[in-house]
């Protein structure tokens, strides 16, 4: 178990439910292991003078038909009840593991046979199987344990199969096979450790189920036989005298309830603790405040649209996105200021973690609930997007802003036809009727150059190729009359030839309808194809804002120059290594004082390490945040070789 796993178990124990459930399970287990000794004698002590007595100070739950103390008998029965439940679970888990892993070990043909058998077994209700096995193995504790265990095996086997199939498809398994590692070894080393957690959780919940099933079988007389007794058996005895002494039935019932509940709750809270992994690093105590809060200096509704020049589509000032974390908030976006004019194409480039995607999400108000978006100004077409979530704001975002994501495969609902998904936008935001909306969808598909749009609109997303899905996604954005398209790595998942088509399409839409474009990419080359202006981001800040045609010759920031030089081109010299950027990008949780790029920068001086350079207007016209930005482009060219460190 590595540290992360240990950490997750600890996290389970930190929740109130997890702690309670764990404590209860511990009590039950301790009772089962050490419990019986002191009570053994009293539980079996026959007292004929005191038969079928009600609860009293001496006998808390009364006595049975031989005058034996029921409370002690219930405690005494803990060992057998829990022991049998665990034994049944163990049988189920082992049988399930064998059946579940068999397809992997046996190869395709035999494996399919096993899978089929398991599926047939699953079709039978568990209790029916248990009753069947109980008859086969004979009435008694052993038979019941085998019955309940084997009845649980098919479900467990299927879980194992499903989880295995998921992990087995990963490349590291293929890599191990290519390295010549045998199937059994791969199973033990790679597959089982990666599915262990859900299996443990399931086995825990299964143990609770087995406990209940056992009580049921014993109660029906198919489980533990006298003179042995478990909780189910005691319940059976107690029901008979229910009108004489209700406590005789209630006491074992309570025991079953508590133990069963403890195991189930523990399983559930473990499952929850592990499932919460998506939110790693965000402690539950942090208050999830949605996008809100303006700078104190500028009340929200202060400035109407006419303050900005008429053709500004998006105006962002001092945008910050932060996420709560144990060691204080992490700020992946730290004060970003830019604006986009009507019909302008602006690219945002940077490495992973530079905050470029979060900037886009903040503009579209899609930062998830844990994140906090602050800005001095965040205006789309003159409307303040910072506060509130009014219908008007939603309509504005829905019709004036189009969003295109990286993965076209996951941005459509696979169960609905493309045309209907496009039409939904129009019906929702523009109140069009069903037929009119569909006609518009077909028209928009045509606009994004999808051939035979009438037929295509009636198809499902899986019938579209990746490039076509991405075009349909853009078409969806065009259902309204957007003033701004925000495209986050729209071509990263596509082939070069398809990438070219999508970029051409974006350019065409932009020029024909004067739609502004905010294109986010890690690839300077892609951005330079489409955009007029490029914002270079590093560690959550814009470090340079320059016209695209200055990228190769007039860039002033050493990072911009390094980023441009790192792209392999059709004319890069083949006899030299490609230029690379040394070091690693900054971790948003640990941003150094001074210029964030200083550690990787060949020009860095003491001032760079101490003082963060502001993004300032440069004599050449564009904005740059660097203490070493030279006024003359020629000068910049002179330092260029030094800024690009040759590969080791």
């Amino acid at each position: 178990m590595n540290r992360r796993t240990a950490h997750r178990w600890l996290r389970v124990l930190r929740t109130p439910m997890g702690r309670t459930a764990a404590a209860l399970v511990l009590v039950v287990l301790v009772l089962a292991v050490v419990g019986p000794a002191p009570w053994n004698a009293r539980a079996d002590a026959v007292d004929t003078a005191n038969i079928l007595a009600g609860p009293s100070a001496q006998h808390w739950a009364g006595t049975d038909n031989l005058g034996r103390d029921i409370a002690f008998r219930v405690l005494e029965a803990t060992r057998l009840s829990v022991g049998l439940a665990l034994a049944a679970t163990a049988i189920g888990v082992v049988a399930g593991l064998l059946l579940g892993t068999a397809p992997w070990l046996l190869g395709r043909r035999l494996g399919r046979l096993v899978t089929g058998a398991v599926q047939i077994a699953i079709a039978f209700p568990g209790l029916l199987l248990a009753l069947f096995f109980a008859v086969v193995f004979g009435v008694g504790a052993t038979g019941a344990a085998l019955a309940i265990g084997l009845a649980g095996a098919p479900t467990f086997a299927r879980l194992v199969q499903t989880l295995l199939a998921g992990v087995a498809a990963r490349d590291f398994v293929a890599a191990a096979r290519i390295a010549g590692v045998g199937r059994l070894r791969i199973l033990v080393r790679h597959l089982l450790p990666n599915i262990a957690e859900p299996l443990v959780v399931n086995a825990t919940i299964g143990a609770g189920g087995a406990l209940l099933a056992f009580a049921g079988l014993s109660f029906l007389g198919l489980g533990v036989q006298a003179p042995s007794y478990d909780w189910g058996r005691l319940l059976y005895d107690g029901i008979g005298v229910l009108y004489v002494n209700p406590a005789a039935a209630i006491a074992p019932a309570l025991a079953v309830l508590v133990a069963g509940l403890a195991l189930n709750l523990l399983g559930e809270s473990v499952a929850k603790g592990f499932g919460m992994d998506a939110l790693v690093g965000l402690p539950a105590s942090a208050s999830p405040s949605p996008a809100a809060a303006a700078g104190p200096a500028q009340p929200a509704a202060e400035r109407p649209a006419d303050d900005a020049p008429d053709d500004v589509v998006l105006d962002v000032r001092d945008l910050t996105v932060s996420f709560p974390a144990a060691a204080g908030p992490i700020r992946p976006v730290r004060g970003v200021t830019f604006s986009i004019r009507r019909g302008e194409a602006v690219g945002v480039v940077g490495e992973s973690g530079s905050g470029k995607s979060l900037t886009a999400l903040a503009v579209s108000r899609l930062v998830d609930a844990a994140g906090r978006v602050d800005a001095d100004r965040l205006h789309l077409l003159g409307t303040d997007l910072r506060e509130g979530d009014s219908a008007a704001q939603r309509r504005l975002l829905g019709s004036s802003l189009a969003m295109v994501f990286q993965d076209p495969a996951s941005s459509f609902n696979p169960t609905q036809r493309i045309g209907r998904q496009l039409a939904e936008t129009s019906r929702h935001h523009h109140g069009l009727g069903r037929r009119a909306a569909f006609a518009r969808a077909v028209d928009r598909l045509r606009a994004v150059r999808i051939t035979d749009p009438d037929r295509r609109a009636r198809q499902y997303p899986h019938e579209f190729s990746g490039g076509m899905r991405q075009r349909a996604m853009i078409g969806m954005g065009l259902m309204g009359s957007p003033a701004l398209i925000v495209a986050d790595e729209p071509t990263t998942a596509l082939d070069v030839t398809v990438q070219r088509q999508v970029l051409d399409l974006l350019t065409a839409i932009r020029t024909s309808d004067a739609v502004a474009l905010l294109l986010i990419s890690h690839d300077v080359a892609v951005v330079s194809e489409v955009c007029d202006r490029v914002l270079v981001m590093y560690a959550g800040r814009i470090v340079e804002d320059l016209p695209t045609d200055r990228l190769t010759t007039g860039a002033l920031h050493p990072y911009t120059r390094a980023l441009t030089a790192a792209v392999p081109r059709m004319d890069s010299p083949l006899d030299r290594p490609l230029p690379v950027i040394p070091g690693r990008p900054v971790d948003p949780a640990d941003v150094p004082p001074g210029c964030a790029y200083a550690a990787r920068c060949p020009l860095a001086s003491q001032r760079c390490r101490d003082e963060d350079p502001p993004l300032a207007r440069h004599p050449s016209g564009h904005r740059v945040a660097c203490w070493h930005a030279r006024p003359e482009p020629a000068h910049a060219e002179a330092v260029r070789p030094a800024s690009v460190v040759e590969a080791s």
Binding site: I178, A179, H190, E351, L503, S528, T564, A566, R569, D571
Partner: protein, 249 residues
Amino acid sequence: MSELLFEDVTVRYGRLTAVDGVTLRVPAGGVLGLVGESGSGKSTLARAAVGLVPPAGGRILLDGEPVRAHGRHRPLQMVFQDPYSSLDPRMTIGETITEAIPPGMSRAQRRTEVARLLELVHLDPGRASAYPGQLSGGQRQRVALARAIAGRPRVVIADEITSALDVSIQGAILNLVRELQRELGLSILFISHNLAVVRYVADHVAIMLRGRVVEQGPAARVLSEPGHEYTRALLDAVPGHRLTARSAT
């Protein structure tokens, strides 16, 4: 140094013919760049070579002998596209690399070997005990390269190894591939959809379209005088034309 030869190889998935009678040669000690769009069959061809999918027809020969796809020591190793999925998250990178080292070494020898391999890919040997989750994408891809070399392969297949990485890291991995190829005299089948990337590492190029090879030859010739229409389309699609055009003037 070994030569890998695909001779009229066909691979089918059910009714779909993914690779259709492909003949290709990875020259001994050379790099063959295989270019094509997704679905063109280039990755399937790679998987057939390492025995992950059985070919329906044709032969795959290593120095004239059929490739062994069973047993402990495999002469072909592969590096995958996604370094986040190709390393077992539960194993340290040292364990991952050790697993690929051919048997017959003592524990101490294996440890030295892991350190040597990590140094070869420019990672700190002290990080052998790190888990993949603690490494960046570029570092993981270096580990994947180290694992491939650990098996002492005669041919390495690199399947889109830089397309999941940031452009800023891509260059470093490409440099590393070139360096390893020269130092170890490896024969490499280098698969990519980006011609600018392939041009940088490969001396021969083959272009695949819908399961067939439509053009192949020396990289310099294919990229400067493309013979097939599709090759020209690929060349046109390389991003950065504006960058290139401007720096050329």
